[in-house]
Subunit: 471 residues, 2 copies
């Protein structure tokens, strides 16, 4: 039998796609990476995944796992040599168990993130991972890339939300590690080694995740802030004043929200004209276990003191859930407004929170020096030190002229991130986009350790080659 016939015999012909049927899998959603695949395999169980991996191992065929295909770094797109099998986890989409007394949910890798959130909510619990792609990304992809999002300040990244994993190893064996334990010190932390390894060490097929109580109320406030230094001080006060009730702290440059309300006239800033021209804004969210009134009262107390201290010039506290959502909607519309303004050069970076202000000032100046007139759209999760630092056209500059500068702009921004003790990939991962940037910034000892682990666990190099680290 040929390889393809064997694959079809394993999964059934319906679940092995070839030719044009693979096209939607081998192009990433932004259309930046176009690969080719020998076939798309769609197994529906860990055992079937393991059988596919063993078959590929025998034939030396590389495997590229894929969830919702919403990644930003090409991690789920195969090379264009057409030699790999793309392994889609989409059919593994069952919620296997919810345990409300243990506050855990066990789900398969192909579950859409929103379905996990909804299953938790139906059981009266919160699964707090939340990000823009939640309607189409899968929890398997979130695990593979250790996805972040808007609730990390309080609940952590995907890693912090995970207790146990089921993984198919590069040998095609199933590691049954779906433990629902909050304390377990019986050996090496393989769970966290797999989380964030982007399918290069094995394939995560299921996970046991932490659930939390549903907050009784959520309340949001938008503040006009004079500068990044003040935003950092405001964050410190908010952490002190609200404790773990502070579940969101987003920073946005004034021009982001000003573009949103210019381009989408049904949205507005809840401020006077003067405050609406603020150079920076901060969006704060409280999740309260008492009441909406209590959350608002806490906001009034702590934000009142912050305004008195000069850390903010104005604050709008949502009066109800509709107003809270409207404030979040301003924040969430930034990427849409960006897209309206034309292509930009995007960076997903983090630096220590204490160095963010200096990072922004220094990097802006370096870019102006090299590329006079160039623009910025800067926003992000200040509570995590994570900025989306995006570079836009100078007045009158053609889109193509900007994009031609991408390698140099990357160089300036990433060198500056590195000089500020930061990371060139905060929450999106490495994929193929940054694999050759890593050696420039990563401690060579660390990179050598990564290579040793890759070689130890995947000696044949069949797991998602060309991603994260070159063997």
């Amino acid at each position: 039998m040929t390889f393809l016939a064997e694959l079809q015999a394993l999964l059934g012909a319906d679940h092995v796609l070839t030719g044009a049927d693979t096209d939607s899998y081998t192009l990433d959603w932004r259309g930046r990476y176009r690969g080719r695949a020998l076939a798309v395999a769609r197994p529906d169980s860990a055992d079937a995944v393991a059988a596919v991996v063993r078959l590929c191992g025998r034939h030396g065929v590389p495997l590229v796992p894929q969830g919702g295909n919403t990644g930003l770094c090409g991690g789920a797109t195969p090379a264009d040599d057409g030699k790999a099998v793309l392994l889609s986890l989409a059919r593994m989409n069952r919620v296997r168990a919810i345990d409300t007394d243990n506050d855990t949910i066990t789900v398969e890798a192909g579950c859409i993130l929103q379905a996990v959130q909804q299953a938790a909510e139906q059981a009266g619990r919160l699964f707090p991972l939340s990000l823009a792609a939640e309607g189409s990304c899968t929890i398997g992809g979130n695990l593979a890339t250790n996805a972040g999002g808007t609730q990390v300040l309080r609940y952590g990244n995907t890693r912090d939300l995970t207790l146990g994993l089921e993984v198919v190893t590069p040998d095609g064996e199933v590691w049954h590690g779906l433990r629902g334990l909050r304390k377990d010190n019986t050996g090496y932390d393989l769970r966290d080694l797999y989380i964030g390894s982007e399918g290069t060490l094995g394939i995560i097929t299921a996970a046991t995740l932490k659930l939390f109580p549903l907050p009784v109320a959520r309340c949001t406030a938008l503040l006009a802030v004079p500068d990044v230094e003040s935003a950092v001080q405001l964050l410190g006060r908010a952490r002190q004043g609200f404790g773990a009730a502070l579940t969101g702290f987003e920073l946005m440059a004034g021009n982001c929200l000003q573009a949103v309300v210019r381009l989408f006239p049904q949205q507005r800033l809840p401020f006077s004209d003067e405050s609406a021209r603020s150079p920076w804004f901060a969006l704060l969210e409280l999740s309260d276990s008492e009441s909406e009134a209590h959350a608002r009262e806490r906001f009034e107390t702590v934000l009142g003191e912050a305004i008195e201290a000069g850390l903010a010039s104005d604050a709008a506290i949502a009066e109800n859930i509709t107003q809270s959502k409207a404030l979040w909607h301003l924040r969430e519309s930034i990427p849409l407004a960006e897209a309206e303004l034309g292509k930009s050069i995007k960076h997903d970076v983090s630096v220590p929170i204490s160095r963010i202000a200096d990072f922004v000032r220094t990097t802006n100046a370096l870019l102006q020096e090299r590329f006079p007139g160039i623009g910025h759209v800067i926003f992000g999760h200040l509570g995590d030190g994570n900025l989306h630092y995006n570079v836009t056209r100078a007045p009158g500059q053609e889109e193509a002229a900007l994009l031609a500068l991408q390698p140099q702009v990357y160089g300036v921004v990433h060198d500056s991130v590195h000089a500020h003790g930061g990371s060139i990939s905060a929450e999106h991962g490495v994929g193929q986009l940054k694999i050759d940037e890593l050696p420039r910034y990563k401690d060579p000892i660390e990179l050598a350790l990564m290579r040793r682990i890759k070689k130890a666990l995947d000696p044949a190099g069949i797991m998602n080659p060309g991603k994260v680290v070159r063997a």
Copy 2:
């Protein structure tokens, strides 16, 4: 030069101990493990540690790292063949940096945990790791064993408190990974691989740790609870009602606290005689970002509802910090009371919280069947599913007779833990105590992956041999 002369040349003769000077290092603090060492090396920098590791590598001499020597599983005690160098991190005890805007502290491995807590507090911050040995254990040991303690419910284990590490690899190189970043997705999670690896993959020499706001108030309540099921329901209500303000939830069998007040008459239970005879007690702690009055009011609301629902028969809410401390002191006196009652067979186990009640009932019955009349002292961190399930003498039984049963008792309890989806080492690690128990309970695939990683990172097998996993 001989090996010892080379070692002395590296560190200075004062910092290489031999003969009887090594005795206090090669006996664990409980006197359960007696090893021997070629020498005790006391380097004072990561570079010096690296030089010692390279020297040992050249001579094929094994290394056993040691912090405060407070472990419970013999992880820091060398074998008795006297071939290993014991590497004490005690001199590496500097606080390297505190960054209040980033809420991080960078400390060397030899820092006493209490010194880390104090340095944080002096900077107006909380470092929440807290456990019985905090006055003498080191943060390096906490990292090596992923220590737990009493605040895990809210703040997580040592792993969850760590952002970056500095590690000396088995090749004697220094990995400079002291990042203070809350989001960093640039490759494999080596940090968490080293945390909890008990010195078998390298030596952690420093760490960058998370800090938190100091709570404005802490308040404690003690509840008389009819059974474990009710305690689990009470935990659910407390999580819902208090959110992240709930920083402690301890469960104690009635006989634990009854022994404490019998043996230490200056302590008392704040209850009527009837409530003081309760079969179970729960200790809850709130950390409040508003005020003590607010914490008490929250306690009154939520615990009042719990009593109405029949989940507790009585509750005592501390009126002030002195009373809060007195309640914690009851809990902390259990191990002392245990010691007064004679030696016991101890287990540090965890199971999913939803299965704790069944685990306790089943395991008690199994033990009674096998060893009629045998006693239990059961307490632990219910919020983490972590029980210290200790087995005590039957009436009239000699201590020696009980201890002779240890292997069989271990077998019964650990088999039951395993049957309930639990872990045979929740927070103490593996060390030499449980290395040969692991293969009985661990998925063989997982154990094989651990061995591959050990071999890849420490091919010569010189790092803390005989601990965690046999190569």
